[in-house]
């Protein structure tokens, strides 16, 4: 037996459609559940105690979200915070500074600076701010 006749005879259509629907619905449900996992995990998180005033870490003058709204202002803030690195500096060092200071998406920020010419290559694989 061959062709559509064989498919119908052996319930091929039913198996294929039901199988596809089951695996699709199964993984969709799993996808939905794991999208909510961070909320479930949040329920088990201990609330951090209020830190004493003297322990409050230094925060940037202004926080930036990604994508960067005001690129020039973000670059100015960033260069201030990374001033300790001197110039030229390694991208990795800048990344660490931004990460420690709590910048959102530090590597995307750095990439944007590079693409917009705010960070310019210097010698030996180092970078500096565009003057």
């Amino acid at each position: 037996m061959y062709g559509f006749e064989a498919i119908s005879h052996y319930n091929g259509w039913t198996m294929a459609i039901a199988g596809a629907l089951i695996v699709m619905s199964g993984l969709t449900i799993l996808s939905f559940v794991i999208s909510q996992l961070h909320r479930v995990a949040g329920l088990f998180e201990k609330r951090p105690e209020e830190p004493p005033p003297e322990d409050v870490p230094e925060t940037p003058a202004k926080s930036f979200g990604f994508p960067l709204d005001d690129l020039q202002e973000a670059a100015a803030q960033c260069s201030l915070e990374a001033a300790a690195l001197g110039e030229p500096f390694e991208i990795k060092a800048l990344f660490e500074v931004l990460k420690n200071r709590g910048w959102p998406a530090p590597h995307l920020t750095i990439r944007t600076f590079r693409e917009r010419g705010i960070l310019v290559p210097a010698e030996d694989g180092l970078f500096s701010w565009k003057k």
Binding site: M1, Y2, G3, F4, A6, I7, Y10, N11, G12, W13, M15, A16, I17, A18, G19, A20, I22, V23, M24, G26, L27, T28, I29, L30, S31, F32, V33, I34, S35, L37, H38, V40, A41, F44, E45, A105, H107, L108, R111
Partner: protein
């Protein structure tokens, strides 16, 4: 003199025919591809050598062949026919897999389901070509692009097809760099291939700990027949992320999976004895396997494009091709194809997320097909 003639008549040189030579050449080709081209060497090398060993002609009845009871090869082959090796491989895979990128981007999991459509299309094609339902189910699972899953399901549904199905599955997995890129390019525009994926968020340890428990419950309750694969898989992952049984996790992802892979590859190769392998059915299986792989890739890419019609944050449709569970080959090809369109677009981590989902999807499909065709 009689003794000498009798000995000579029992040698492989005397008993060999053209089919043994063909299969030995196939084995040599696999070894060449694994060493010279580095195509899936962990699999093709043991399989290639197993093919050579399995096709050394011998006098039947000596208890030498893999299909002869009480032979050493027969005992080793028990791990294949019982589904033992695939389960052990899944344990190791789970202990290796990092689900954090999938947990950070859950919508990519649906691509792992979409890429399984090749399985069901191939099921219909195999039935149409005259294969019996259980044979069709075994052939269809090649579309999952998962060697251990293919072997597991074939051992359960059509043990006489283990050799051709396994060889087809692993051959096409090794040929991913040749099969997938043209399909991906054909179905996507350059603009689509340039779509950047957002940076993934950091996933907490608690999420990673909850996922394997939730995953095994949801998947195995839905398709209990997938327990032999998904049970060890999620258990291996829990060992990895728990951080309290590092020794066990380390053993599962090294010594245990390596041992199972060696015996799995070698005995599957040895099971391809010329007289049971070189048949018209094998040709049909290879033909359907190619279709299964191509349809799986295409369905993943097309589904990603359909998802983009409804999503605000578009996803790169190339990722759909990584929904087949060939880890990490298909994720690598997606990444490389994306890089060709935009050298600064890195898709590897997102591709691995789809790959991980594909592993779960194909194991789920195996369980579903096994349930249907029991």
């Amino acid at each position: 003199m009689t003794l000498l003639l009798q000995f000579l008549s029992n040698t492989g040189y005397f008993l060999a025919d053209y089919r043994h030579i063909v299969m030995i050449l196939v084995g040599c080709t696999f070894i060449f591809l694994s060493i010279a081209k580095k195509y899936e060497p962990l699999l093709l090398l043991p399989i290639g050598f197993g093919i050579i060993v399995g096709n050394v002609p011998f006098f039947k009845g000596f208890g030498l062949g893999i299909y002869e009871p009480n032979s050493v090869l027969h005992y080793l082959y028990f791990g294949v026919t019982s589904g033992l090796y695939p389960s052990i491989v899944f344990l190791g895979l789970g202990a290796m897999t990092d689900f954090s990128s999938l947990l950070a981007t859950p919508k990519l999991m649906i691509l792992g389901a979409a890429a399984q459509m090749g399985i069901y299309f191939t099921l219909l094609s195999a039935l149409a070509l005259g294969f019996l339902p259980r044979e069709a189910g075994a052939i269809a699972i090649i579309g999952g692009a998962d060697g251990p899953t293919s072997i597991f399901l074939t051992a359960k549904l059509a043990p006489h097809l283990i050799g051709p199905v396994a060889i087809a599955a692993y051959s096409y997995m090794a040929l991913i760099p040749i099969i997938q890129p043209p399909i991906m390019r054909l179905l996507t525009s350059k603009e689509e291939r340039r779509i950047r994926m957002p940076e993934t968020r950091e996933v907490s340890r608690k999420e990673q700990l909850i996922f394997p428990v939730v995953g095994v419950i949801l998947c195995c309750f839905l398709a209990p027949a997938s327990i032999p694969l998904l049970g060890p898989f999620f258990f291996g992952n829990l060992m990895k992320v728990s951080g309290v049984v590092d020794r066990l996790a380390q053993t599962a992802r090294s010594a245990i999976i390596d041992t199972a892979t060696i015996f799995l590859g070698f005995t599957v190769g040895a099971s391809t004895q010329a007289d049971v392998f070189l048949t018209p059915k094998s040709v049909g299986i290879f033909f359907l396997g190619a279709i299964a792989f191509s349809i799986a890739t295409a369905s993943g890419v097309l589904f990603a494009k359909i998802m983009n019609l409804f999503l605000k944050q578009k996803i790169n449709p190339l990722l759909g091709a990584a929904g087949v569970s060939a880890v990490p080959g298909s994720a690598r090809e997606v990444h490389l194809t994306g890089l060709k369109a935009d050298p600064t677009n890195y898709l590897l981590m997102h591709g691995m997320a789809c790959n991980a989902s594909g592993v779960i999807g194909s194991a789920l499909c195996a369980g579903i097909l096994w349930s249907f065709l029991l």
